[in-house]
């Protein structure tokens, strides 16, 4: 799901997922995103979201809507576009863009099935750091053995759990400086390149072979393949 990060003077005020088909922005309280500032019109702008595409429209605001410094009336939002309304900035982040079919498969690996406060179990927004970090390569896992052999899984979230609950669970965490695998639960520890890990996090390198709960898989960065 695409997300917006609201900030002013470099201070992040709020982060929100574009959950609705139409998200309104303005000074008046009925807006989905209310910005209570006189430079913002009552109904300032709106974003229409269809799957992963988002369209920004200025609602004839007094002070205008800017994207990446250019005034716009209508604009198709691209990943990392910066929308400016008065002194406020809204950074648009498209999702990790996993095709829906692949997303279903990914659920076998339980990428964050947890949800907050009774919201429907929609795919969580990608948890890439909002800072414009140098476009880090996305890590991938390819399953090499077992019933899922051949499947790949994109490690787009801040954490991905792998394994068999009740016997062995490991987690791969995504950080700005790389991917790390750590043992979570169970008496058996994950094996990387034939060596069992200890309790410490292990930084994954391209083409590392991981073995968890009897299943072999290979880690690689998306830029090195496909």
């Amino acid at each position: 799901m695409p997300r917006l990060i609201l900030s002013m003077d470099g201070l992040v005020l709020k982060e929100m997922a574009l959950e609705k088909e139409r998200t309104t922005i303005g000074r008046k309280p009925h807006n989905d995103i209310q910005i209570d500032n006189l430079a913002i019109s009552g109904e300032h702008a709106a974003i229409v979201t269809i799957l992963n595409d988002a369209f920004l429209e200025d609602m004839n605001s007094t002070n205008g809507t800017y994207v990446n410094g250019q005034p716009v009336k209508k604009h198709v939002l691209q990943d990392k576009d910066v929308i400016e309304l008065g002194k406020y900035r809204l950074k648009f982040l498209a999702d990790g863009a996993t095709p829906q079919s692949e997303q279903d498969e990914a659920m076998t690996f339980s990428q964050g099935a947890a949800q907050a406060e009774g919201r429907p179990a929609a795919p969580e927004p990608a948890t890439a750091p909002p800072s414009p970090a140098p476009a880090a390569a996305i890590g991938m896992i390819q399953i090499l053995s077992g019933t899922h052999a051949g499947r790949t899984l994109e490690l787009s979230k801040s954490l991905t759990t792998l394994g068999k609950p009740g016997s062995q669970v490991a987690v791969i965490t995504r950080r700005p400086h790389g991917y790390f695998i750590t043992h979570v639960e169970g008496t058996v520890f994950p094996v990387v390149n034939g060596r069992a890990l200890d309790a410490q996090a292990y930084r994954l390198n391209d083409h590392d072979i991981i073995e968890i709960a009897g299943v072999k898989m290979e880690f690689f960065s998306q830029t090195s393949e496909s």
């Binding site: 209570d36 947890a114 009774g118 750091p129 979230k157 801040s158 068999k164 009740g166 987690v171």
Partner: protein
């Protein structure tokens, strides 16, 4: 992993200065045997925030340790918070360099009868993850939260940024303070999180829920990952967390880790 008898809460704490601040003004304490976790966030911008946090925690713990048979009653919590307040206020009044220091305080007592007693002053929080739903059991004593409750602003994030972090109650800034207390039933499978606002300012509730759900069976790892992620996002403030889990390691039966290889 410690082998505590049932209900057997496992606890882990991490506290980090963050990426921007030079001093860590958070202070925490947790004790699995006592079933107690406590976190204080010394007031930023004031002198001696770190001193206030440590004093408050130590005074609170000292009072709680005196409870006969470790049976902690609501009254004990009120007295412990009053003790903490007195300790901080006395020093703040005596030492001009420490004037106006203060701290938040959030505590949880996991009692042998299966109930959880919490106390709270300020904007540090206590969350519960149950059946993949994250709930905040405490209510912030902040200007924005109160304006929001009063209907003056739509949400806390839409309020004037200048009011962010401004508290309406704190420990040690006046001669007395009233804590909010809650009581609830704790269940097997629950995961609790105490945290300073350095975490909740950097991470959305959904992300916190996801991390607790995935890593709750391993409290030290969950705590470490929460702190790391807050720092990866900028670490604007000190970030401190205490993760309390009833899950036994190797038995991640709750629904959020339901998948895996078949």
């Amino acid at each position: 992993m410690t082998q505590a008898g049932p209900p057997g809460w496992r606890m882990a704490m991490r506290s980090d200065v963050g990426r921007v601040r030079t001093r860590n003004e958070d202070f925490g304490f947790c004790d699995e045997a006592l079933g107690v976790a406590l976190l204080a966030d010394g007031m930023g911008g004031h002198a001696g925030g770190d001193i206030a946090a440590r004093l408050a925690v130590e005074a609170w713990i000292e009072r709680i340790r005196k409870c006969p048979g470790a049976l902690i009653e609501e009254r004990d919590l009120r007295v412990a918070v009053a003790d903490a307040n007195r300790a901080v206020f006395a020093l703040a009044s005596a030492d001009p360099a420490l004037r106006r220091m203060g701290t938040t305080l959030v505590g949880g007592c996991f009692r042998p009868d299966g109930t959880l007693l919490t106390c709270n002053v300020g904007d540090s929080r206590l969350y519960r993850l149950r059946d993949a739903v994250l709930s905040c059991l405490t209510r912030d004593h902040s200007v924005l939260r109160e304006q929001c409750d009063a209907g003056m602003i739509e949400s806390e994030a839409s309020g004037p940024p200048a009011l962010r972090g401004l508290l309406t109650r704190a420990v040690g800034v006046a001669g007395w303070v009233v804590p909010d207390l809650t009581i609830s039933m704790a269940q097997m499978g629950d995961i609790y999180l105490l945290c300073s606002d350095g975490l909740t300012e950097m991470l959305a509730d959904a992300e916190i829920a996801e991390i607790l759900g995935a890593l709750g069976g391993n409290p030290p790892l969950a705590a470490e990952h929460l702190v790391n992620l807050a720092n990866d996002r900028g670490g604007m403030d000190n970030v401190s967390v205490i993760v309390v889990s009833s899950r036994t390691p190797g038995n991640a039966t709750s629904s959020e880790v339901k998948a895996g290889f078949r």
